[in-house]
């Protein structure tokens, strides 16, 4: 069995457990101990899942990009399983980001949706991830599929900053980043639950990717054992 898969099977449960603990503690802090916002009141609490969703979808894309470069370099089919998993889970977190953002947008901006820079680029990111996943759906040859998918992921990652700048120039009303190099614009009482939640989401992401990678790997293994896979790379 592949080294990476063995390692994942051993650590998977611990990541799941850690994610659960962080999320429970984070939710308690976010919903109970943290104060309501001066302007937005209780509504602001959705931030504690919206921001982690957004952070995690960026992490997913980073993993996908590095994994794709790694795949083109080493051609390891398990790395391809990892990329596939990261893209699928990343799409889930991007959808979460858009949905929670929309729910927050209604009370905060009095609109469900606006074509502002970050919303638009998050939507474009989701569309790129969907194109990536659909490309994989339409291919039979696993070796070619892995290579083409890696190419699309790399193009998409290179494209994303350009998309972001173009839509930002185009229009923007999103509130400025709260955590920047110039200093913290938010108080400790809000920042700490936010960090706990973000770590919880990162752990959850890692756990989901591990489970999904192992699932995809086992699926390919089964196909290879049935003799349907042309390349016997998994065996």
């Amino acid at each position: 069995m592949h080294k990476l898969i063995k390692w994942m099977r051993r650590l998977e449960g611990w990541f799941g457990l850690a994610a659960g603990i962080f999320l429970i503690v984070g939710l308690y802090m976010a919903l109970v101990t943290s104060p309501p916002d001066y302007y937005q009141g209780e509504v602001v609490r959705i931030m504690y899942i919206h921001v982690p969703f957004a952070q995690t979808s960026l992490l997913a894309y980073l993993v996908l990009f590095i994994g794709s470069l790694w795949y083109l370099w080493k051609k390891d089919p398990v790395v391809d399983n990892l990329n596939h998993a990261a893209a699928g889970v990343g799409a889930f977190f991007t959808i979460g980001e858009l949905l929670t953002g929309s729910i927050w947008g209604k009370p905060a901006w009095n609109t469900w949706w606006t074509w502002d820079a970050r919303l638009t680029s998050a939507l474009v990111l989701l569309l790129i991830l969907m194109a990536y996943l659909m490309l994989r759906m339409f291919m039979d040859d696993h070796v070619k599929e892995a290579r083409y998918a890696a190419i699309v992921a790399i193009i998409g990652f290179v494209d994303l900053p350009i998309v972001y700048f173009s839509v930002e120039w185009w229009r923007t009303i999103h509130q400025p980043l709260s955590v920047s190099q110039r200093g913290l614009a938010i108080s400790q009482e809000i920042l700490i639950p936010l960090i706990v939640m973000t770590i919880g989401f990162y752990l959850l992401f890692t756990y989901m990717v591990m489970v999904r990678t192992r699932m995809l790997y086992l699926g390919h293994l089964l196909e290879a054992k049935k003799g349907r896979l042309l390349s016997q790379a998994h065996l």
Binding site: K144, I151, I155, G156, I162
Partner: protein, 225 residues
Amino acid sequence: MIFFRVIRWIVWKDLLSEIRSRENISSMFFFALIIILIFSLSLSMDTEMVKEMIPGILWIAFSFTGIIGLGKSFLVETQNDCMENLLMAPIPKGAVYLGKLLGNFLFMLVVEIIIFPLFVIFFNLDIFGQIPMIMLICFLGTLGLAAMGTLLSAMTVQIKAREVMFPLMLLPLVVPVIIGAVEATKGAINADPLKLYQQWIQLLAVFDLVFLIVSYWLFEFILED
């Protein structure tokens, strides 16, 4: 040098087969004409609205006709095992990419040169002094569409459901080109001072440069078998 000879041959081959069959350019041209018709029927515009909306309609027409041409670009190579021959030939793969790109770019540009005057006539535009600037914007925007489209066309031609997958992958990736080209064209058509829209032209140039380099490098992985 063999590199430039390969580019020249591939462009020449594509141009020759296009001149003989006239398949690509005529289908792109009529599709563009239909887009103009549909837009003028579905949006009722007065002179002020036209100035606001024409850049958008123009680039919808350009990018959709581009999709028709680009999507078929590598389809011709699948006939008579052309793809296998290109793979086996002892030539740099990047040159194959640049050759196909140049051919696609020329087809798209020819169609744009034909349909742009139709836009001017149908929508009563007064843009005579702005023609060099609009040409520059079309050049940069089309290059960006063609650079990305040629790469994706080489990929999608080898999978099922290519008619669906090609636009599905191309359009989200060329969002910056569409935004940049539309905004720059808007500035040029309204005869704004260059300072107001030069950032969009710079955006197009950066996009073109980045994607020429990235696609040139990634193309080798598509043809690798």
